[in-house]
Symmetry: C2
Subunit: 305 residues, 2 copies
């Protein structure tokens, strides 16, 4: 049975402090600490490309677990900020890591729901093709598209990448998933001429309205009561959205952590970064849920083996 | 069991004739008809976006088979020329077609190997999630990135899209696949600052060297002799590459057709366009093989039910 064995991640060390932007954006400490929950955002260097972030996350994974490059049978990169559109980032990563010619590579274009989708898509692909070791890399550096003077986005998004080893000796195995799309609302979070535009209120309302029901559906599909789930890892869009969803579901906040004060919303990497820390802890049943660009959402239930 | 039930495609009616570019590029009829095998390339109109091509292919699929939008549980769009990078094209298509909120949508970024990959990835995803109806859309309009004065690319690539219905009442079901990547060679076919660059000789040599062995591997994995395969549909990169691969494998050309004289290499849509015509014919065992951007390749074996 395939599942998550280990996760490595890379968060660039450079930060932009939101405290230093209080005057520019007319915000206060309460807004920073309690509303968005982002004190500073991580920022890749100008010469770091998306594929470089992928390689660094992969290398961190390699420090955590023995990884023979020739054993890797598949790599998927989840991104909407590729180095370039042709070729796919996974091919560039394949080249930089000098992986085997027999290694399957493809990219998935999804935003904040990307990790959950990729977990289902990639595990199914690997299982169908008899593969035993593959890597899901999430890397969506929004600094490429964020206008630093746009209050709706500049204070929120940080750069990072995560590399998740899917193998036949897993710690966490996935159960049933849920997926959804509201394509008619796609303009609420969109790149126009290379610059990100977000209607923050609309995206918040979408998540607050949609995700609680989706989590209930997830529990129902998996035939489990909500309070039998040990941990809920919600996409770290902002502190307020995580708390709002938890509140609507009656989940205590210690079971639905918000942790990304010091680097921000890293899009599809928020969930694997949270999961990396939980992999070696006790929670036996973990719900994960991503939501955002598309508008799109996906939830999954993970069980410890 | 899931498989291919029906395929619809859309090729824009506008054409650019290669005969009218003989002087500009210093080419002759032999080059046009026997080497590249592209007499004219199809061209989308300036206001047709990638998602529009997807919708038109979907509509053509809907003319061929009864399709209730609320029954569609998943859509994948294969492209490296999205309308924009955020959001994914499948979300925009979801919105334009007004599909169900429960419909899963994601894009795969791959070039000429994209359809074969998508067939494996998407069917595995659907099966793992208990889905019965989904659509693979390929739409990679290279006119967005081709320099009309670049002989290496302008004479070859045409615009098109194809929509493939994957369902539990299939005509063709896939057997085992092969996949491969040569990421170190990715610069041989790449977009630089929005313009496609192709080292035609290098890509030709890669395909001529790699694909025959991959087809032999495909046959071996599927425990079938090459001459027991009724039809070989190779990515229509050019007439000469299709004939070279067939020749190296000792396959007669009538079993490895080249057909894209009148619209050119439509990237990931070449295979579903060829397959659309074969779906209602006799071939019982069909090998399909895509190769190109990445460099990447994938092959699959399809059997008629």
């Amino acid at each position: 049975m395939l599942g998550i064995e280990e996760i490595g991640y890379y968060i660039p060390t450079e930060r932009i402090s939101n405290y230093q932007r209080k005057e520019q954006f007319g915000i206060d400490d309460h807004f920073i600490e309690q509303k968005i929950g982002v004190k500073q955002v991580s920022l890749k260097s100008a010469d770091e490309e998306t594929s470089d972030l992928c390689v660094k996350a992969f290398e961190e994974l390699g420090r955590k677990t023995a990884l023979e490059k020739e054993d890797i049978e598949a790599v998927v990169v989840v991104t909407q900020n590729p180095d370039r559109n042709i070729p796919h980032v996974s091919a560039m990563v394949h080249g930089k890591l000098d992986l085997s010619p027999q290694c399957a590579c493809f990219d998935i274009s999804l935003g904040c729901s990307g990790f959950v989708y990729a977990l289902s898509v990639f595990q199914a692909f690997m299982a169908a093709n008899g593969m035993k070791k593959g890597i899901i890399i999430t890397a969506d550096p929004y600094s490429k598209v964020v206008d630093p003077n746009d209050k709706n986005t500049a204070l929120l998004f940080g750069d990072a990448a995560a590399a998740t080893l899917i193998s036949d000796t897993p710690r966490l195995v996935s159960q049933k998933f849920t997926f959804g799309t509201l394509g008619v609302e796609h303009e609420k979070l969109i790149c126009n001429d290379g610059t990100l535009f977000m209607n923050g209120r609309a995206v918040f309302n979408f998540a607050a309205k949609t995700i609680p029901g989706d989590i209930r559906l997830l529990a129902e599909k998996n035939d489990i009561a909500l309070d039998a789930i040990d941990l809920f890892l919600f996409h770290q869009g902002s502190k307020i959205i995580v708390e709002t969803i938890a509140d609507k579901l009656g989940i205590p906040l210690e079971k639905a952590p918000y942790k990304t004060y010091d680097y921000g919303n890293t899009v599809s990497s928020t969930l694997p970064i949270l999961l990396a820390d939980e992999l070696h802890k006790e929670a036996r049943t973990i719900a994960i849920c991503g939501f955002g660009v598309g508008l799109s959402w996906a939830s999954g239930l993970l069980k410890r083996l």
